[in-house]
Symmetry: C2
Subunit: 401 residues, 2 copies
């Protein structure tokens, strides 16, 4: 037994216990404090989610806690973030899913298709990171308006649906001169305002046709209303706003939509400026990673070995490698990917085993994508607080005592 | 529009509708009839599951409906089957998960480890088919005793935990002469009976050490009590009974357990015979596949193109290919895998696009594993109704009208 205790001490474990003593229950680390938002009930349309794993910013902006990301690449639906630009439509639209109709325009033979008809045209499944354009906004010292997301306006989910390119092909192909894919959401618009000022309609470049889906399933189940069911345009590699929920119109267009959410919203504007159509749109995601465990929000760790775990993704490209620093970014060690590789658009879980001595440690991760792009140290300042992939901003501080 | 209608008619779709007519909602196929068991409430320990997707055989034997498997390879927890040999322990055991203790025996330095300590030793994530030994028993004409499962005592889930080989290494390695991995479940045993007659204790060959985990996470969340949380021994490639829930003792042993569930239960016994230790144990899974959509339980299909979708896996080996027959097994067509490949122990979704004319059709699938083993036409008869991987038994009948 002494040898066993020594081996475990070397592995950073606590005092040896008697083998077989099932009742000798003494946790090596105290239980984490109760999640501060656990008591706040969730709105009815997301009442099926797990409140203890979520941070509620508002009824339509709900974030996954850093500590609630596990070491599997798929984020369970009940832990996935919510960010809806308008309240979700009435649940009646998911009562007869196959009856949902989407108008397909900008093809040689435009027409409307029901979800039942779409299901006959083909099926593909893609795993991808779904991330709000403003994820990480909370780390901007400039405090841009909008939800101050930490790391959790993101998840990795699997979508099933028909490839959009197959839908276009079934309708004679994309019409001449079209350069964008424009999706329109089926939200009920508030009355008394110009529809263009509120409608959720976004355009992405035609290049997205290669992998976009009209999806009816998320993580193996029909898409929940809260996540855009019964039918969602899914654009892998692009920020979440470009994946249009309850999509009622899918048009190949010569120009970008003139809806305000496209023309002025989600633009990379200089600090202090307002959004306008001359500025770059928030679309393709860039290489990013962060550490989820230890999350830095629990009790002090015991000295010894710790498994530092997180997620990394390449955005429009595959992620290639991840490094971890336990000294504030001075030196970096290669982390190990764990679990299956779900493809180019998914994130991968990584782990680095490290020994941490007593004191405070600043831990961070830095990913590299398949094109050699390295996650930057600094955020790119912009008025909207978009696209934050700074490794310094996403670091966690852990105390070992 | 005429051209569009013609193109869609060729793709098997119904009459054309006016493009943009969002309100012209006429489903191409009638909604499926309400799931017959949907009204029956689930027992409290699985009240978080989705009853409409499940068939309740009893409070501890609950099956996923064939129609509830989607086209993503991961089965959501709320749709995953339940098969517990004894009622689940009190939920108090998941109140402080890190305090759970497992005794590790048959190593050079045996001792007990808390879950918190296990988490410091390493982490890996594996996707695998979890399948009850008796899945498909309902297709045996001999009506063996036990739950008459159809296809749904199976799912594909991701587990995270520490590789068992790393635990053994941390305790000095496996002791000399050990040939089995023996796990003991933490169920509370009924009083007044010989514990050996009811305890859930199973042994698997040492070869399973290569990939076995002591897992604390399923599908990205802490393992639910109903699925063996806080800690489960997970043995990829083996039937579910070998993955011990609430594992309280993990022993490397020279002999198989003498618990009745091992010595007499789960044996491949000749029809009419009782189980005994001389018969082969139900352990490694074999190559298998089945069709989930169309499930054969809905309204008649319309003539035209249908996406025939299902799942296929190789058991202890990877799945290599799947064929589909739409003529009762006379001729076979290669199906296409869809979605990411989650590795050797996972299942893969497959799809075959087919045109079905009016009439009744018998659809089936046949998988081949990476070693060339082909899923057989016929089940291997045995008294317990175990290991049914007959492609004929798993066929579905669909009516096109």
């Amino acid at each position: 037994m002494a040898g066993g205790a020594a081996a475990l001490a070397a592995a950073g474990l606590g005092a040896a216990r008697t083998a077989g003593a099932q009742t000798a229950v003494t946790p090596a680390t105290p239980a984490a404090p109760a999640a501060p938002g656990a008591a706040k009930p969730l709105p009815a349309y997301v009442a099926w989610k797990d409140p203890a794993t979520l941070i509620q910013h508002s009824g339509t902006t709900i974030e996954t806690r850093r500590s609630a990301f596990g070491t599997s690449p798929i984020t369970p639906a009940e832990r996935l973030y919510i960010r809806n630009n308008l309240p979700a439509p009435d649940a009646a639209i998911v009562a007869d899913r196959d009856a949902w109709v989407v108008a397909i325009e900008g093809v040689k033979q435009p027409r409307s298709l029901s979800l039942a008809e779409l299901k006959g045209l083909g099926v593909e499944t893609v795993a991808m990171v779904l991330q709000c354009s403003g994820n990480g906004r909370g780390f901007f010292p400039s405090k841009p308006s909008g939800t101050p997301w930490g790391v959790g306006a993101a998840g990795c989910v699997m979508w099933s649906g028909v490839p959009l390119r197959q839908v276009a092909a079934a309708l004679g192909g994309v019409a001449e001169g079209m350069r964008f894919i424009t999706g329109t959401g089926g939200e009920k618009l508030p009355e008394g305002v110009d529809p263009k000022s509120v409608i959720v309609e976004r355009s992405v470049p035609m290049a997205a046709l290669a992998d976009a889906l009209l999806a009816w399933e998320m993580n193996g189940a029909p898409i929940a209303l809260a996540h855009g069911g019964p039918l969602r345009l899914v654009v892998p590699g692009y920020t979440g706003v470009n994946s249009i929920k309850y999509v009622k119109r899918l048009a190949f267009t010569a120009q970008e939509s003139d809806a305000r959410i496209m023309s002025h919203g989600y633009r990379i504007s200089p600090p202090g400026a307002k959004g306008d159509p001359s500025q770059p749109s928030v679309q393709e995601m860039a290489v990013k990673s962060w550490i989820n465990s230890p999350a830095g929000d629990g009790a002090p760790l015991k000295p010894g070995t710790v498994q530092i775990a997180g997620v990394a993704f390449g955005g429009v490209n595959a992620v290639f490698a991840v490094e971890v620093s336990v000294d504030g970014g001075s030196t970096w060690l290669p982390a190990r990917f764990v679990g299956p590789d779900l493809g180019r658009y998914a994130w991968r879980n990584f782990v680095l085993e490290a020994r941490l001595s007593a004191g405070s440690h600043r831990l961070m991760s830095r990913a590299t994508d398949s094109t050699g792009q390295v996650q930057p140290r600094d955020r790119a300042e912009n008025a909207g607080g978009y696209n934050n992939n700074s490794w310094a901003d996403h670091a966690v501080t852990v105390v070992v005592a």
